[in-house]
């Protein structure tokens, strides 16, 4: 098991560098620079700014300087938000997104697995479960969010329509964020539960006299959750780094909007910060999901063991 985890970690390092390098050069090949503003700034000012931030050096030099800074944990200043360091912005905003993302993740897993198992039942319940699952994929966050606000805050007055002050402010945004992921988990789990129910071991368990609940939770569930666990790696990374749409609709001071605005503003250092955080999350959550897969299905770890 330890070996398996170590091997996975070693594989992650080159992936991280590949992502960072690809994005580093991509943002610089995109036309426009970080100091283009709505109001035209004089050429000298832009050149002075570029020189100040070292953007007039050759690309290779910039890249190695960036790697050197990265090794010291220095992400540099934001070009857009003057006086802010990228690491400061990330630290402050990521806390909010992490909290919201954790609620949404928990909700998505619970609802998704429950719906997925319900899809294994026959008749009306299964039809309802798979319908609910599809609905989640078809209701994008920017439709669901406003609808939830309209229903629960404007009409019922149960929650604040926006903001991030009291604990109850997390309810609507996490539900909005979770639905799409819950729907995917339900779909993946439902499909594999249906496939597992046809396996000979289920027939053997029935023949032995095991009840349906025992079969579902004791035998099938463990075999059926693998696709959902594999999906949860990247999904969790997406959830934890915040969602632009949800944060905009509910006015939440999270990280999601920085992903979008930094790319729109060519805020190079901020883009790199966001991308590296996302890549780190992807790697961490993929690792966790790989470990979970190995726990659920020991054969996977055994293949790496020898």
């Amino acid at each position: 098991m330890t070996r398996y985890v170590l091997k996975r970690l070693c594989e992650a390092v080159p992936v991280f560098f590949a992502i960072v390098t690809a994005v580093f050069f991509m943002v610089r090949f995109v036309p426009g620079g970080p100091f283009d503003r709505e109001r035209p700034v004089s050429q000298e000012t832009i050149e002075a700014l570029n020189a100040y931030y070292g953007l007039d050096e050759p690309l290779a030099a910039q890249y190695f300087k960036f790697l050197g800074n990265l090794a010291r944990g220095e992400l540099g200043p934001s070009y857009k938000y003057e006086g802010w360091k990228v690491s400061e912005i990330l630290r402050e905003k990521a806390a909010v997104s992490l909290e919201l993302g954790s609620y949404a993740l928990a909700l998505a897993i619970a609802a998704g697995i429950a719906l997925g198992l319900a899809a294994a039942a026959r008749g009306k319940i299964a039809a309802f479960a798979s319908g609910a699952g599809l609905l989640g994929i078809c209701l994008p966050a920017f439709v669901l969010g406003p609808l939830l606000i309209l229903a629960f805050s404007t009409k019922l007055g149960a929650f604040n329509s926006m903001g991030w002050d009291s604990p109850s402010d997390a309810v609507l945004p996490s539900a909005t964020l979770a639905l799409f992921y819950a729907a995917w988990i339900a779909r993946l789990t439902g499909n594999s539960v249906r496939a597992q129910m046809k396996m000979p071991y289920v027939r053997a368990a029935r023949a032995k006299g095991a009840g349906e609940a025992r079969i579902l939770f004791g035998h099938v569930l463990r075999n059926a959750v693998s696709p959902a666990i594999a999906y949860l790696g990247p999904a969790a990374a997406g959830l934890m780094t915040g969602s632009f749409v949800v944060e905009t609709i509910f006015q939440i001071p999270g990280l999601g909007r920085f992903f979008i605005s930094s790319a729109l503003d060519n805020d190079y250092t901020m883009i790199m910060g966001c991308v590296m955080l996302y890549a780190a999350f992807i790697i961490i959550f993929n690792l966790i999901s790989d470990i979970a897969l190995a726990v659920v299905n020991p054969r996977i770890a055994r293949e790496f063991g020898k």
Partner: protein, 293 residues
């Protein structure tokens, strides 16, 4: 080793005639009433949007400022927006963009994915391992940043946005095609084709692609709605189809802003958008279930 011309191998009796694989893949639709209804709706919606200039009661930018945001009425069945523009007409015109993006980007994604997947499978060995590693890495790139950079780079041209979306949606297709090709590559009839002197390109065109067609079709059917979702997200950010030309994403965005005063501005575009996505997903699901069994 070359096979002797016209001897034993040619003596194998021809396989009984069967429907072409791509057509067989459509068969599960016929047994599934909901999927059939969804297909009917999707075709109806696509046609209605395609013929929007003929069907729409008003132009997408025909303003009637004195009307303002008016509730649904006989003249404007879905109401009007803040500038007095007919919502029904704007939905029809907006759908053109969504459908066009969905199809074109899926086409781009399928072209890249099929080419990449077959090359990877046919080369095999280290090249295959390297090419799939690239796909793995690309999977962990943050897509939104990627697409935004592409749209910024391409300067908001609608057609290039299609290509940009296609360029990030091909990964799943490449994986599926590669898996299919690897499976088919080792079948006896492909070996026989090689033995008969068929080149790699010929095997790909005559054996692998036709047999991988059902899987490609299912994957494409599920790519269309996910592309439409991505496009609406871009429109929501203001990066998609540019005003005054509407798209479903921008209509929903406008609707969400005014939902308390004019709920019909949100309700009807959202309804059409969600119904279309539901239909397309349901079709894809029905197809994949048929292929999986």
């Amino acid at each position: 080793m070359t096979a002797p011309e016209g001897k034993n191998i040619r003596a194998i009796p021809p396989a009984p005639p069967r429907a072409r694989p791509a057509l067989r893949a459509l068969a599960p639709l016929l047994d599934d009433r909901l999927a059939l209804a969804c297909a009917a709706f999707a075709v109806f919606a696509a046609l209605a949007c395609a013929f929007a200039p003929l069907l729409a009661p008003f132009g997408y930018d025909a303003q009637n400022l004195s009307l303002g945001a008016s509730a649904p009425s006989a003249e404007h069945p879905f109401g009007t927006d803040m500038l007095g523009r007919d919502i029904l007409s704007r939905i029809l015109y907006g759908g053109r963009g969504s459908f066009a993006v969905g199809m074109l980007a899926t086409f781009v994604a399928a072209a890249i994915g099929v080419a990449y997947g077959t090359v990877s499978a046919m080369c095999g060995g280290r090249i295959d391992a390297f090419m799939m590693r690239v796909v793995d890495i690309a999977y962990s790139l943050p897509f939104t940043i990627f697409v935004i950079l592409l749209t910024v780079a391409f300067g908001r041209s609608v057609w290039l946005i299609f290509a940009a979306i296609g360029a990030v949606e091909w990964l799943t297709m490449a994986r599926i095609v590669r898996a299919c090709a690897l499976d088919i590559k080792n079948r006896a009839y492909v070996e026989a084709a090689f033995a008969l002197g068929e080149g790699k390109a010929g095997v790909v065109l005559r054996h692998i692609l036709p047999n991988a067609a059902p899987a490609i079709l299912v994957c494409a059917a599920l790519t269309v709605p996910s592309v439409m979702l991505l496009e609406s997200f871009l429109s929501f950010l203001g990066l998609g189809v540019q005003a005054p030309l509407p798209s479903w994403g921008s209509l929903i965005k406008d609707g969400a802003e005014y939902m308390e005063d004019a709920p019909w501005m949100l309700a009807f575009p959202a309804l059409f958008f969600s119904l279309t996505l539901f239909s397309l997903n349901r079709i894809g699901e029905a197809l994949s279930r048929g292929g999986g069994e």
